[in-house]
Symmetry: C2
Subunit: 411 residues, 2 copies
């Protein structure tokens, strides 16, 4: 595989034109869109307009005149087709963590005889922490977290399990779980399923409705490019919306919030899952960012994602000096999300050296180097340059320089 | 009282110069800063920089290089002096509603033998709703909401009350509760106090530490001018921080969030009250907005607030046509926040007519017309013009025109 072949791949890429919709920094190869998506150009003008015109000039009137009050639903409906959800089931609000709390409580409402939340040991920690927080609040008689290895999920689906909480794509390894199969297995045992789509929404085709998923949460700031700390979203299947009740019953989830009634009466639709006042500036950024997806086919996203990873792997394997990088992601492309993870004893220092050289990857404790592929703006040439830089760093042992062993608050 | 006297008041106002730090729309008198604060000029450039440079150019590195990870603490520390709080007790995160849930649960942790949350019938609804949500989750044996009239608070502080939940300034009437006295009365009965500062933070001097308050929440988008849906804040007195545990235990409240440990170990300081990833763009807007407060004396704020209300009342009383506007706020300025509320059967239509004429007040169901005074940017001339416009509308009966009886989603 040579550079000419790489250029040919970029020329044949039907998504190549999407890259120009993003503001990407010069001299940078960005392979960390799975942590923070890049800036869509349209967001800059939208945020400026929301701040100067809508807030600055139109002030309080904008709740009506610029439909701020409808943003959570509007943004939810833009996310819905990306995750295979029909209308009226997705809303944008709060963070993944807060939304998980709402959905865990909802699952216990529907499955009130059961006490266990089953999850995997290597699920993203905040998912596990939210169950632990609920367990601490309700007591172990009402809520316990059971963590198992992925291969033990099926045998652990017992009659005490109220909800199965899984992240579709593992944040470290990129392993992709089989949503259809696991949801079916859970339902067979009367278990409700909550899927965390943090690393899958916008990364690959997701089919919530088709898989008959009960609940889901996901992230605005990764593949959806909504900006740092962008509001999250949640999905509640229509069949559950009348029966559930979630405890974070803030005024925006009330059937008539502006009646200022002292008694809470929930909206009997997805609106119930709102809590406080929506974060208008951040949510407007995400709203604009989602317009980039309007002409995008999720199958093309998946095909390009797999091709980017295949080229990356091929180039890694061509370079003997990289043999100490051990692939932690599944070999089979169909069992992966849109990232590759490698373990290496010096993963942290290699990551820092890459960043110094303009290749932005990320490190996950204890020893994982992650490379994320975001088909909207990652090119095959990016992959070529990234691996070339990686070869330079490892071959020259540059990463052993003490300056790359630095303390960072966030890694 | 005539226009010359008004101009004299503006000339003598030590806060008059602050107005130029805001972008106020032309031909508009804005008396709704108690609902949504106006746009500080410094926010526009800060938000543009966060979006284009920090996010667009520096991408994921900004968590360290632009200290995004420290924003919740940094913003909390900027709010602290405005509400009379020493260091390490205030953090910016989530919404008031979500934060109330954390603090209600914290109060029950500390007062675990007790089951009642005492509040007032006319507290802001979301405060009541959050207790109702918790009560529904825990069951009435563990959590009940008791709502009483303000004058019955003292006699209702029994040994079953775990927490007293009060809003310092009533959202409708502007009535200001006596924080020192009520906190003391509660403590005498072993009751913890949670103060909602939505209509007081930035409106008047608040003395959380001096009053030995236990917990508080407040709003970023009203008097603090952080923008629509700006993140909220919460306060936890240092003496409680080691003992409490809150159930919305997301990864940002973990002692070591980037160790990605499967077990939750809370930060043993105010950090524990964070939950998910902070909303960087919105929180940066609030961070910039708070710089406006650096040279502001809260006593000057209070003095001007009282003077604005006094002039408003005087001008209202001078105009016989306004006698159907009945003051719902306390007569005594020391018992009010920074707003005046009047009831009128046609309050909604009058409000809409005022808005058409460029005077932005607001309506609260069922029949309240609210005028908010924000001493940083409200001038005495604004007050003069507002009352003059009100006189025109009522005297001419303009407000009876059917076009002012319109349906709005948000009122």
């Amino acid at each position: 595989m040579n550079f000419d072949e790489i250029i040919t791949l970029d020329k044949a890429d039907p998504l190549a034109k999407k890259r120009q919709e993003f503001d990407l920094p010069a001299n940078t190869i960005y392979l960390d869109g799975n942590s923070l998506g890049a800036l869509p150009k349209v967001v800059k003008s939208r945020v400026a307009e929301v701040v100067s015109q809508q807030w600055g000039n139109d002030l309080i009137k904008s709740w009506n005149s610029h439909s701020w009050i409808d943003l959570p639903i509007k943004v939810g409906e833009k996310i819905a087709p990306i995750i295979g959800a029909g209308q009226g089931q997705v809303i944008c609000c709060d963070s993944i963590s807060v939304n998980l709390f709402k959905l865990l409580c909802s699952a216990f409402k529907l499955n009130s005889e059961r006490t266990v939340v089953l999850s995997t040991k290597d699920n993203f920690p905040t998912d596990l922490y939210m169950v632990q927080g609920l367990s601490d609040l309700l007591g172990p008689d009402l809520c316990q977290l059971q963590m198992v290895e992925e291969q033990d999920i099926q045998q652990s689906l017992t009659e005490s399990v109220a909800a199965l909480l899984l992240t579709q794509v593992n944040f470290r390894t990129g392993r992709l779980l089989d949503m259809a199969k696991l949801t079916q297995l859970a339902h067979d045992k009367g278990v409700l399923v909550i899927w965390d789509l943090a690393h899958s929404a916008g990364a690959l085709p997701v089919e919530l409705d088709k898989c008959e998923v009960d609940f889901a949460v996901g992230c605005g700031y990764k593949y959806l490019n909504g900006g740092p700390g962008s509001p999250a979203f949640l999905y509640v299947a229509k069949r559950h919306q009348q029966a559930v009740k979630q405890p974070l019953s803030g005024w925006m989830g009330h059937a008539k919030p502006f009646a200022f009634d002292a008694q809470y009466h929930p909206s009997l639709n997805i609106n119930q899952f709102q809590c406080g006042t929506p974060s208008v500036i951040s949510m407007s950024a995400l709203d604009a960012a989602l317009d980039v997806w309007q002409d995008v086919d999720m199958l093309q996203i998946r095909n390009k994602s797999e091709a980017l990873a295949a080229v990356f792997t091929k180039l890694i394997n061509m370079n003997e000096c990289l043999h100490e990088l051990i692939l932690c992601s599944p070999d089979n492309a169909h069992q992966r999300g849109s990232q590759l993870a490698f373990s290496h004893d010096a993963a942290f220092s290699i990551c820092q050296a890459l960043i110094e050289k303009g290749v932005i990857a990320d490190f996950r404790a204890p020893n994982i180097l992650r490379f994320g592929f975001t088909p909207l703006y990652t090119s095959f040439e990016d992959i070529w340059k990234a691996v070339t830089t990686l070869v330079d760093i490892v071959d020259s042992e540059l990463y052993k320089n003490p300056r790359f062993n630095i303390a960072l608050k966030v890694t």
